[in-house]
Amino acid sequence: MVTSVHQLDDGAWVSVNDSREVNVSDLWQLARSDFCGCERADFLAEGFVEVSAAAGRVEARIAGRCIVCGEEGVTDWLELGRADPEAGEFRSVVPESVHVPDRRRRLATPE
């Protein structure tokens, strides 16, 4: 099945196959990012700006702030998790572990 993803309620959460999966207010650890000058950004997610999915891989660009240095902005593409292409079930990444944002969307087909 095709994974259906969208941000809703002004970017408050990401829906994967009509189930609320990823929320604002989590802290994400970002490494090797251009988001701010910090070696590891401690990034508060305040709103999902763009989402995309292909082959079950769900990604988003998130608006928020690094709570170490205070830099505000929108991240590059971050993997939020994967949806099982058969059953549609979503397995989220763990925000508190370390993530590397990607400048380019790795996926061919935006949702």
């Binding site: 309620d9 970017g11 959460w13 829906s15 009509d18 604002v24 207010s25 305040e46 709103g47 709570i67």
Partner: protein, 590 residues
């Protein structure tokens, strides 16, 4: 490419959604096809139903729109009954108990924990007394706001209540305007104090006078494009148009038709009219309005009354509507402080009874989350003021209690970052007990919003609080950005954000320290707002220090990660939701 939400709206939106809700309610939660949840909940908003946040699936916030905040005789009692019967959740709130009513900053009413199955009965009870949830949320004409004492105010320039009523009649349920690119917030002000808060609305009618055919005619100037959300606050801007009270409806319709046609439907973050006004400028806005949306000659703006505005202006003169005030007819209106705008169902019912006994039965909601009992007979005023209920909802509250506003926050709201109302109650109590009120301060505005959407209007307060996070001893904790210097009045000003990421338990200490600095360094007769305005942003940074005090905060942990912040078993996995019509957990399918 139009957004997904636009796609859903084009399939079904507006009045027709009601029939679907009634069908779903009849059959129960499972009747909503699982792969259509998102689409339907987006559409439900148009009928005032907002699906509560993660962990509270199948429960809805229900918003009742009361134009200009006016609750006619008999209506408040029904609101209390509905709250009592239908608005209790699985767990009580430790500050407020079970069933509560929230009075909102846009003069509406919010109930929580509403179950799909109960909606038809609730609508029947509300609609029997003329109350409605139609267009209370969603992309259309929202509840119309204004000066809450319109028609009862000795400082009134023009009675705006009939105008607001007419707009409500004309644009509620009106198919032509039912699917706009985004919400459409309208304010009509008739008093000379500026209580309608037109400056922060999409469309504002503000009192003005203009010479027409040699005669001075009272009416309204028009402003567009105000709003606070998303770190993009804007004041509404004049488009150089005056209209007589009779012309307001046509001009308002034309402005919202312009928004319907030209608002951005491809990017919801850019859709509010404030961004179109940014892009076009006011001259183009006026030109397009004239050429394409009205069939009469727009008048140029009249002379406004803005230099008389005192509402929320910082000098304590007319900061709110709390207190006892004489009406032009010799009766009194009594404004009662409702801390953070929340009242239990029993208290609400008792207030309805008192309004009936001592006044006309009418009650009004202010944009500061307070209530006003109008038409109190002068002979019975003292007896009314002696009523025990007024000890809790006082016409003369302590300045810190009086000025506190808070939004919904992590209790129910998806967008939230932090807990809000309970915390603000604790802040206000602590400040009252521990901090000396600077001389001359009667009313100190602290507005607390759980995120950047700014529902508590933080940018126009003495102290602005906006939900954030920080770390303390390595652990993530709830926090606030603190802003100073905001307010309305002749020269409205948004707060400067001066202290960032202050841990929530250090905010009361910051306020205490800041007020001590103010007391020490203020010039003769200088109000708090003037004192702040005298300093530039660099000086404000670090003007006072955040500090831990005896204040204790039970909500430092990440309350958004709970299913309900106040449950003993608060882990997301302990949530009973979704539930059936009796509140029993439904079997989950995974």
């Amino acid at each position: 490419m139009p957004t997904k939400v636009e796609g859903w709206k084009s399939e079904a939106y507006g009045n027709e959604v009601r029939e679907h809700i009634l069908e779903f309610a009849e059959e129960g939660w499972d009747a909503i096809p699982e792969d259509e949840h998102d689409a339907w909940f987006e559409r439900f908003k148009w009928w005032g139903l907002y699906h509560q946040r993660k962990g509270q699936e199948s429960y809805f916030m229900m918003r009742i729109g009361t134009p200009n905040g006016v609750l006619e005789p008999g209506q408040l009692e029904v609101v209390a009954d509905v709250a009592d019967e239908y608005a209790s959740g699985p767990v009580d709130n430790p500050e407020f108990g079970g069933a509560v009513c929230d009075w909102t900053t846009r003069q509406s009413i919010q109930l929580h924990w509403i179950k799909l199955e109960d909606i038809p009965d609730i609508w029947e009870e509300l609609e029997a007394v003329g109350l409605s949830t139609q267009q209370a949320c969603g992309d259309s004409w929202r509840n119309i706001v204004g000066c809450p004492v319109a028609g009862k105010d000795t400082e009134e320039f023009i009675d705006a209540w009939p105008v607001a009523e007419e707009l409500n009649e004309r644009f509620k349920g009106n198919e032509e305007y039912s699917n706009l690119p985004r919400k459409w917030k309208v304010s009509v002000t008739g008093c000379s104090e500026g209580c309608g808060q037109g400056d922060i609305n999409d469309l504002a009618f503000e009192p003005a006078v203009k010479e027409i055919d040699g005669e001075e005619v009272k009416g309204f100037n028009v402003r567009v494009g105000g709003g606070l959300a998303r770190k993009e606050p804007r004041f509404a801007r004049s488009i150089d148009v005056f209209c007589t009270p009779d012309e307001v409806g046509d001009v308002a319709g034309a402005c919202s038709a312009l928004f319907r046609e030209h608002g951005d439907r491809e990017d919801r973050f850019n859709a509010r009219i404030k961004f179109l006004v940014d892009e076009w400028g006011t001259e183009k806005f006026r030109r397009v309005l004239q050429e394409d949306f009205v069939d009469f000659e727009l008048r140029s703006a009249g002379e406004d009354l803005r230099d008389e505005y005192t509402y929320n202006a910082g000098d304590g003169e007319h900061g709110d509507h709390v207190g006892v005030h004489e009406q032009p007819d010799g009766n009194y209106y009594v404004g009662l402080g409702v801390l953070v705008g929340r009242m239990g169902a029993d208290d609400t019912r008792e207030l309805a009874r008192l309004a009936d006994e001592y006044g006309s039965g009418e009650v009004r909601i202010t944009q500061r989350q307070n209530l006003i009992v109008t038409d109190v007979d002068s002979d019975r005023l003292d007896a009314f003021l002696d009523e025990p209920l007024l000890e809790d909802y006082s016409p003369d509250p302590h300045p810190f209690m009086r000025g506190s506003i808070a939004c919904t926050g992590t209790e129910y709201c998806s967008l939230s970052i932090v807990e809000t109302k309970n915390r603000q109650v604790r802040y206000a109590r602590w400040l009252k007990e521990n901090v000396e009120v600077p001389a001359g301060v009667e009313d100190f505005h602290i507005h607390l919003s759980g995120c950047t959407a700014s529902c508590a209007q933080p940018q126009i307060a003495d102290i602005s609080l906006r939900g954030m996070k920080t770390r303390k001893d390595g652990e993530p904790v709830e926090a606030f950005d603190i802003g100073l210097g905001g307010g309305l009045g002749e020269n409205p000003q948004f707060a400067d954000w001066v202290e960032m990421r202050v841990a929530a338990d250090e905010v009361p200490g910051y306020i205490e320290n800041l007020l001590a600095v103010y007391e020490q360094r203020r010039r003769d007769g200088e109000s708090f707002r003037e004192f702040i305005a005298r300093h530039d942003e660099d000086d404000l940074n670090g003007l006072a220090e955040p500090e831990e005090t005896s204040y204790e905060d039970p909500y430092m942990h990440n309350t958004k990660m709970t299913w309900y912040p106040y449950a003993d078993e608060d882990d997301m996995s302990a949530s009973p939701a979704p539930t059936n019509g009796q509140g029993d957990p439904l079997p989950s399918d995974d």
